[in-house]
Symmetry: none
Subunit: 221 residues, 4 copies
Amino acid sequence: MTTSTNSGRAKPPAKEGTTGRRRAKGTPALASERRDHLVKLAAELFARKGFQATTVREIADEAGILSGSLYHHFDSKESIVDEILSNFFTELMAQNRAVIDEGGTPYEIIASLVRIAFNTLEPHRAAITVMQNDWNYLKGLERFEYLTKAEDEVEKMWITAIKEGQVTGTFREDIDPKLTYRMIRDTIWVAVRWFRPGGRLNAKGLSDHYLKVMFDGIVVH
Amino acid sequence: MTTSTNSGRAKPPAKEGTTGRRRAKGTPALASERRDHLVKLAAELFARKGFQATTVREIADEAGILSGSLYHHFDSKESIVDEILSNFFTELMAQNRAVIDEGGTPYEIIASLVRIAFNTLEPHRAAITVMQNDWNYLKGLERFEYLTKAEDEVEKMWITAIKEGQVTGTFREDIDPKLTYRMIRDTIWVAVRWFRPGGRLNAKGLSDHYLKVMFDGIVVH
Amino acid sequence: MTTSTNSGRAKPPAKEGTTGRRRAKGTPALASERRDHLVKLAAELFARKGFQATTVREIADEAGILSGSLYHHFDSKESIVDEILSNFFTELMAQNRAVIDEGGTPYEIIASLVRIAFNTLEPHRAAITVMQNDWNYLKGLERFEYLTKAEDEVEKMWITAIKEGQVTGTFREDIDPKLTYRMIRDTIWVAVRWFRPGGRLNAKGLSDHYLKVMFDGIVVH
Amino acid sequence: MTTSTNSGRAKPPAKEGTTGRRRAKGTPALASERRDHLVKLAAELFARKGFQATTVREIADEAGILSGSLYHHFDSKESIVDEILSNFFTELMAQNRAVIDEGGTPYEIIASLVRIAFNTLEPHRAAITVMQNDWNYLKGLERFEYLTKAEDEVEKMWITAIKEGQVTGTFREDIDPKLTYRMIRDTIWVAVRWFRPGGRLNAKGLSDHYLKVMFDGIVVH
DNA sequence: CATGAATGAGGGTTCATTCAT
DNA sequence: AATGAATGAACCCTCATTCAT
């Protein structure tokens, strides 16, 4: 895969002469509890207000420390969101690849991919929200190229499955695989905007409903 | 509808003894060509970089003037995006209401609403992009309450039509009207992210394809 | 006297290369009604909000024209306030000098000077308010040196009269003429802050009361 | 008294999810030396140039830091002047109330109030200057309502004492208590414009002179 | 006389980040 | 680990003034 793990611990010698000597002496505490906690707080804020609209001071406030102190844990605001997103993508891609590796009918594969996506909605709500809302901004940054690469990989999985389904006669011939993929993909992720765990529907209900509509349409046959 | 027309032409509360009779005699010149041009430039930038990430200096640069000069035409950055969005919503809502007023079978109504939406994708690409990407931020501002109100109105149109279709036996009983509406709505607007006029598909092709999938599903029956 | 009449019609070649060609072709309409009206409007605003806090746009708004159009009548915001203040000072100084020229006992002179001052409170309310509130700022500008000069002239009138009164035995020997003058002067002008024509007291009532206290004190003798 | 202590140390409404627990544990460090120093520098500038005419950049320059750095200590320019004024008013009102609480003849009370005021002239020169020159502007701001309230309280003290003095026969019946109070009040504060500590007169000399004139008048009896 | 568009300098403020302690 | 002070760049916006039409 391509999902980077450069979660900001060793800043890639970008920008100007950042010395990047932080965490150079053995770097053990990569995933200290404190750090994880901070990431979670930041994720909530990013999700609620957007990445750009959230200030490091707000994150620090939420944690009860001063903004400067955050830089003991992360070397930039970007590296926080990087950590959030790469955590999510690492897991998502692992599961997706597992489905592909396992094989199955196109119908089964598509259904699995959909279920996986809907199942991330709850545990990775914040990450997905950030991805949805701030994609436009983040994709412009070199550091987040792995987002695009992961997307491309998923697209290939889907299109391969759809096309195969058309060949085997499961799926209609008159739909455009790429177009269909995009529609479905967007519909799933965008649900994060209104999906509330604990509400009327859970992830399973959502994906069941969605698969029903997607496979059979809303018209009575 | 409630789409505001408070696009920032008349300066707000008018601090003190200002009698505020500016532009009171019929409010002409509202749409000077210059102004319209500036709105268009800003819309492009907002769409490309996001509302918050776009600076007034960039807008001014694009127009070949100084940033301060923008304030001869608008009283804030917000009022520019307001103008962009309210233009779009005014048109969209007018068309939607016309469909409802005209009547028809639920199937026809839903199809029309979908087509209208896809047809706005090209002429209002920038506005829709802003709506998609910056909604989260803008909805928090009092000034943009009309966005939420318009959304609610559209939701009612859809749900009414879907439910009626279920009653008349056109649509399946086992789908959730609200959930279905949201899925469809988001899928349409989110297409603005990858839809490029002049590309493989035009608005008609897109909506045809979408209606096909939505009504009949992707599985062969 | 020294009260300038350079009310901004011919800008003194200050600052940078201002060409100052305005009103060069005969300059008849020095005191057009339009111009006077504008000065009055500006005076009201300056008095209410302070000179610096009042924008030329507010003045223009009040007059129903655009801010740029003001520059047809005045060549700067300063020249407007200059006109306001010099009108006031010209009149005040003329009356003061008349009292001195006419002669009389020290007691009579002081009483007359006090009455003159209180009598300007109503017709020149705005000018006096500006003088009180914005003196600190205006006195720093070369253009308004005549304010200081006029003040000095008045001070001399007072101190001369007070000292003479002490010599003739009318006024107490144990008061400091300069100090006493300043106290009295300030007390009069500062009344503009709360004096409202049409209220409980008019100018005559005020000056009577003030002369009573000033001459005889508040303690029963 | 009502002198606010909202000197801008705790950031206002705390936009959103900020829990605002900043500085909650006893609010120490409120008066760091650095902060006090900055307030003093600002006060000098405000007094010299006026509040509005003083820029935050000038204050920062004076302190040898960048303008943005000021916002580490204060959250706005207004909160600086607030601190200046509330410091002054807190002290003034405490002293005034002590005089009232202690009691005494009307003559003694008035004399004490006058002396207190003149005595603040030197230590609070800057604050009083700001109060005199920028009152008109500041009183319009909600934040500074406490200024008006304090004024009202002092007015009551004076008027009560004057009226009582008239009843007991100490003060003349034919003076207007409110009017007299205002004259005296303004005369005292306005002295800040020309009073220079270290000059011919100190605060005691000033108040002695003033009490002499106020109580007994300038005419020989 | 007035408009409408623009200038240019500067205003208060924000914010990610740095760093000595 | 955290604080507290500061940086520096940028941000949105204001405003007196100019000028062609």
